[in-house]
Symmetry: C2
């Protein structure tokens, strides 16, 4: 098959690779119908050293089941399925509590198991991981269904962990696909005031379409001052942080109301940060978030995607064939494209 | 009147001071019946420089109303009242949401306004701050009622912010008065497994009486390993951190289960700490807590104190007269006493 590998920063190649095969009786092989490039793929795209490459790329996909291991029930050849970016058993105590990212049998696609920017993928723990979609689904829905693999579930995780309730006030930091879908998720959970912090007008316009009531282009102290101006001086009860860099964390601390919640889904590019009396403790701020257990949210989010109530697939603004994947990385790396959809 | 001042580390004096007077129409003057020394008083007792002294001491008291300002309704001379350590209006949006420590009209007793280790105290925002107690209350209940001013409400805040529910598993770090009352609070909220980390047997014995199911004397990695041994390798869902030093935070990170909550009420003696992928983010740990808005909890906690269901006053293991306050600091500083009650 053809599959995508990152050799080192900036060097993405689509090349021949062995067809994936069933290795464990709990595996399935899925033929990829749609995959995409993630904002988090850009971290290694910008920093991987040649010594650490090549690594298989891509962790978001939907496709059809091609083969199942002997212990995989409930799935058969030809089923249309979507996979969360983390595979998991869906039966252990962590999965039952909705924390599939901590499943002892679980792990991640791409570098962990085989990339999804490819023609086919081996899926461990297939029964727990794969979610069946209607086989007759309209092809136009495929981009939105694909967002259930990561970015929609991740944006939803941010809002869910912040315990957004009707009437709430929320700041979303970051206008990438996850930030925009955090806006959509906050709106679905009833947030009344949704302030989106982002600088790319085409993106923040989509954020407004998803439910943002205000957009702030300024960053740092200036951005924080704008949030406070809009909220009677106190900030919003929740801040959803979808970037992961320290300045975004500092803005979150500045924009959150005393007693409020900072919910992070941008992977932190730092380890130590201020959490003492002068930042989180004094004003009783709660810090939450982490890698999204998107498997826990797919069943909940699927109906509104299928019936067209929401259209999270609007985050895809470019579609390329698998062979053009390197150009997709380039376009996203240069912020020409928000998110690139890949077809076989 | 007589009042307590800290001149510098180790130098506590009880001396003559001006009687407090009504300064604002929202003030009341309370004659102190019982006050006490707090673990947090030991921080300046160990570190205050002569240049920063003298400062009035004490923020926990109950007593009788002696005089009220012209705008204070609902209180009259002779009423028995208890005050939270932070005064507040109890009517603004922060107070209504239970965050009295962020009240714009609020502040703290002791260094902020006048100490409670004294014969009388001026209470700002008296109508919002003071909570009436039955005037005929049994004198034996006064120590337990006094804990509502801080340590019981603070321990309860830790458990409340961790959203303890029936059947929960909890680790409490610290066997001071707040840690022990965090045990009691977790028990009241239905926790099934309560692991108390502390090294002083008389204190941890009281912790067992309050509901601790296990006691761990070890610290650091050794202590964390013990918690994991007791919990199938994963740690407890909640960790209540009642110390405030970095090693306690590190133990909390080690002892909390993936997807769990660290709730801090020990005032952090650090500003930066690990919160990245390797500590909080990867396992989706929530960090919460702060200065306790004890005013929000007094009404809830009072009935079980009055009817004797709980006896949080057991944290007082020594009673001294106000004039002996310096000896109370010495005894607590040397860990001879857990918590010292002061009588006029």
């Amino acid at each position: 098959m053809r599959a995508t590998y990152l050799y080192e920063a900036g060097d993405v190649r689509v090349q021949d690779a062995p067809d994936p095969v069933i290795e464990e009786p709990t595996d399935a092989i899925v033929r990829v119908l749609r995959s995409c490039v993630c904002g988090s793929d850009l971290h290694p795209y910008h920093s991987l050293t040649a010594a650490d490459g090549p690594v298989p790329m891509g962790h978001e996909f939907l496709g059809t089941v091609e083969e199942t291991g002997s212990e995989v029930s409930g799935l058969q050849r030809g089923d249309l399925v979507v996979a969360p970016f983390a595979y998991a058993c869906n039966t252990c105590e962590f999965c039952r509590s909705g924390l599939h990212t901590s499943c002892p049998k679980g792990g991640f696609f791409a570098a962990g198991i085989g990339g999804a920017q490819a023609e086919a993928v081996r899926v461990p723990q297939a029964r727990g991981t794969l979610v069946k979609l209607p086989n007759d689904v309209d092809e136009k829905l495929l981009p939105s269904l694909l967002t259930l693999a990561d970015v929609y579930g991740t944006g939803y995780h941010a809002a869910h962990q912040a315990r957004i309730t009707p009437g709430d006030s929320v700041t979303v930091i970051g206008d990438g696909a996850v930030g925009l879908l955090a806006v959509l998720s906050a709106k679905q959970l009833g947030a009344e005031r949704i302030i989106l912090m982002g600088r790319h007008k085409t993106r923040t316009d989509l954020g407004r379409a998803f439910g943002a009531t205000d957009v702030i282009a300024e960053r740092g102290n200036e951005g924080v001052a704008k949030v406070r101006d809009l909220t009677g001086g106190h900030g919003t009860r929740a801040v959803l942080e979808a970037v992961g860099h320290m300045p975004a964390y500092e803005m979150a601390v500045g924009a959150v109301r005393p007693g409020g919640v900072i919910s992070r889904v941008g992977v932190p590019q730092y380890e130590d940060a201020p959490i003492g009396f002068g930042s989180l403790f004094g004003p009783n701020i709660t810090l939450t978030g982490g890698p999204a257990p998107v498997r826990a949210y797919i069943d909940r989010l699927l109906p509104a995607v299928l019936d067209g109530t929401v259209d999270p697939g609007r985050v895809f603004d470019r579609t390329l064939a698998l062979e053009q994947t390197p150009d997709g990385y380039r376009a996203m790396g240069q912020r020409e494209a928000l998110k690139v959809l890949l077809t076989p």
